[in-house]
């Protein structure tokens, strides 16, 4: 693939963005005086700022490139990640979980686990989460370096060092506030950078109806009904009738319930943004405000992938020796990760191309910054302060937070090179983290809503859930995959039509195991006195008073609006 040439105007757009991002860090430096300022933004963010940051911290490369890739691979059914997955989970965390996260005054998600359960449950979560953030950030850097090298011919080393250096500078200077401010800026940049792409793409194919017509032959060539790529629910009755390869139950339980609730309700990377809000009401509104643009994101990130597929510009995946890869049936294997970037290069002239590429860079950087700020907080509060040096003055932890930012970024760079050298090792690590994360929502759900759940129950449940995930994955294999990192390493007893179907069912098994084991072990171990659980568990905690003065600021009202709109979108694209 020949590299695209940029014009001076494209470089100017990028440099302007870098200048503003760094300028925000410099301007905020003097506002950071305590560790609370650095790690929690002084708990002073208004809801709309923390809401957009909540959304943007998750808007990394995996979202923009990955959802475009899934759009090209699975069609509009990818929107289930939003309309079945993310939105209901965001409503749940806002209404039911935020009162405990924010109200308990815990400074992190692992710290909540310590308050609710015990030290060992916190340690498991803190260590696995800190490791995961470093690798996620490294994978993001690697993906960015690889893409810029392929698309523009830029040096891999220089790309990741410059991007990592800028992220390091603005977090080091302004802490979480700087990360959040930049995430808000990056949010608008991503929206305004990708919106013209969708506009031009749809205009070119003759609107949604034109896209449906373009994708019909692709769909039938892959053995599906003509509109299988453009309808989200109609073909979910059987796994073999849709490109996702999963039926409605696996989708709703695996993606909608376990994976989405597990991520949006327990991942400190996003929850940290809500914890930075300036009041309980603002903290509860944070995920709800984020949910409104989030439900429209399929049009911004999934449609470009579908448009690229409709245009026939998704390039083939190249194997060793630079030759195009073919699957077992002799079909060309497409490099779906290049779907969105190829559309960008296809439609955007000089100038707008600079804006589009800057939006892409912004997504990589906001995803990385989200991971680094979550890492420095969990490292400093949940690992360093808890196990290495408790009882030090606040200034010491502030300095440690800045130091953790430096080594967090350095480790991310290292992880990017690990990914570049041993791709399978990164796949394997991501798999292990999936095993760790899948059962976590069961631990939180029981911890927050059942006062009888004990620390021993939570710990044993988490370990059992993780092992169950590994066993299920080890005994199953997606169609067309070879035994190894994709599964089957304990012997293949069942096959799934797609990797996604296998992931969803692995999550269901992990969650159920954790849920059942936590209950069983809790019942046979000694509970904590009810008095100690006040503020941490539903039913023995006062319901949060709603201090919003206007009706449209009330979390319950916003939640109803968000759910009604999401239902409407599901119906429109049924």
């Amino acid at each position: 693939m020949p590299a695209t040439t940029l014009h001076w105007i494209d470089y100017v757009v990028m440099l302007l963005y870098f200048g503003f991002v760094l300028g925000i860090g410099v301007a905020l430096k003097r506002t950071v005086r305590t560790s609370t300022d650095f790690f929690l933004s002084g708990r002073a963010m208004p809801a709309w700022v923390s809401g957009l940051a909540f959304l943007s911290a998750n808007l990394g490369a995996q979202e923009v490139i990955g959802m475009g890739a899934s759009g090209a691979k699975y069609g509009i059914a990818t929107s289930h990640f939003y309309w079945v997955g993310a939105i209901p989970a965001m409503v749940f965390v806002a209404l039911f979980m935020m009162p405990f996260y924010y109200g308990s005054r815990a400074r992190s998600v692992p710290e909540y686990l310590k308050l609710r359960f015990d030290e060992k449950t916190r340690a498991v979560n803190a260590i696995s989460f800190a490791t995961m953030t470093i690798f996620s950030s490294g994978i993001s850097l690697y993906a960015m370096g690889k893409l810029l090298n392929l698309l523009l011919g830029w040096s891999f080393d220089a790309s990741i060092l410059v991007a990592a250096g800028i992220v390091l500078a603005y977090i080091f200077l302004g802490g979480l506030t700087s990360a959040i401010y930049n995430e808000v800026l990056q949010f608008f940049l991503i929206v305004l950078g990708f919106a013209p792409l969708v506009w031009l793409g749809l205009r070119d194919v003759g609107g949604w109806a034109g896209l449906v017509a373009r994708l019909a032959p692709v769909s039938t060539a892959n053995g599906f009904a003509p509109d299988a790529y453009t309808r989200s629910w109609a073909f979910m009755g059987a796994a073999s009738h849709n490109p996702v390869g999963v039926e409605w139950f696996g989708l709703v339980m695996g993606l909608g319930f376990v994976l989405s609730f597990g991520y949006w309700c327990t991942d400190f990377l996003v929850v940290q943004r809500a914890m930075a809000a300036n009041s309980m009401s603002a903290a509860r509104r944070t995920p709800l405000i984020a949910a409104i643009p989030k439900m429209l994101f399929p049009f911004l990130v999934i449609l470009p992938g579908m448009l690229a597929l409709g245009q026939g510009i998704v390039p083939p995946k190249l194997g060793l020796g630079g030759l195009p890869l073919h699957d077992l049936h002799g079909h060309l294997v497409l490099d779906y990760d290049l779907a969105t970037p190829m559309l960008l290069v296809h439609f955007f002239p000089a100038g707008l191309l600079g804006l589009g590429l800057t939006a892409l860079l912004a997504s990589f950087m906001s995803g990385m910054a989200g991971n680094v700020t979550a890492f420095n907080t969990v490292w400093t509060y949940d690992i360093y302060q808890s196990y290495v040096r408790p009882g030090a003055p606040d200034g010491h932890y502030l300095a440690m937070g800045r130091f953790a930012t430096v080594f967090g970024v350095a480790l991310s760079i290292l992880a990017a090179y690990v990914a570049a050298s041993f791709n399978n090792i990164m796949d394997f690590l991501q798999l292990v983290f999936a095993f760790v994360n899948a059962p976590l929502f069961a631990t939180f759900a029981l911890g927050m809503f059942w006062k009888r759940a004990t620390g021993h129950g939570a710990f044993v449940g988490l370990v059992a859930g993780t092992l169950a995930a590994a066993v299920h994955h080890g005994l199953t294999l997606p169609a067309g995959a070879v035994v190894g990192v994709k599964g089957g390493y304990l012997g293949v007893v069942a096959a799934f039509p797609s990797e996604l179907a296998q992931t969803f069912w692995t999550a269901i098994v992990a969650w159920t195991t954790c849920f059942v084991v936590t209950i069983v072990v809790s019942v046979v171990t000694a509970p904590r006195p009810t008095e100690e659980l006040r503020g941490l568990v539903y039913g023995i905690t006062e319901r949060p008073e709603d201090d919003s003065t206007r009706w449209y600021q009330r979390p319950a009202v916003l939640a109803v609006v968000v759910l009604a709109l999401t239902l409407t979108l599901n119906v429109i694209f049924f």
Partner: protein, 71 residues
């Protein structure tokens, strides 16, 4: 007093808008500058400028409301 986040956002998009619109106007008619018939640099530059101006106006209103502080 903390920096109002709408200020840098407004400033960045205003500058980008002016730059893109001016570049679009200067290169109008050249091959490849109007995919699907839209002089997109010019049009989108104006959209960015309008958004930037709106953010700056909101920041200014916020500053007045809080006597120089806030977001």
């Amino acid at each position: 007093m903390r920096l109002d986040v709408r200020l840098p956002i407004g400033a960045l998009f205003s500058v980008l808008g002016v730059l893109l619109a001016a570049y679009g106007a200067a290169t109008r008619g050249r091959p490849g500058t109007a995919p699907t018939g839209v002089p997109i640099d010019l049009v989108w530059g104006l959209v960015l400028l309008a958004f930037g101006a709106l953010m700056l106006a909101l920041a200014r209103r916020g500053m007045r409301g809080r006597e120089g502080g806030g977001y």
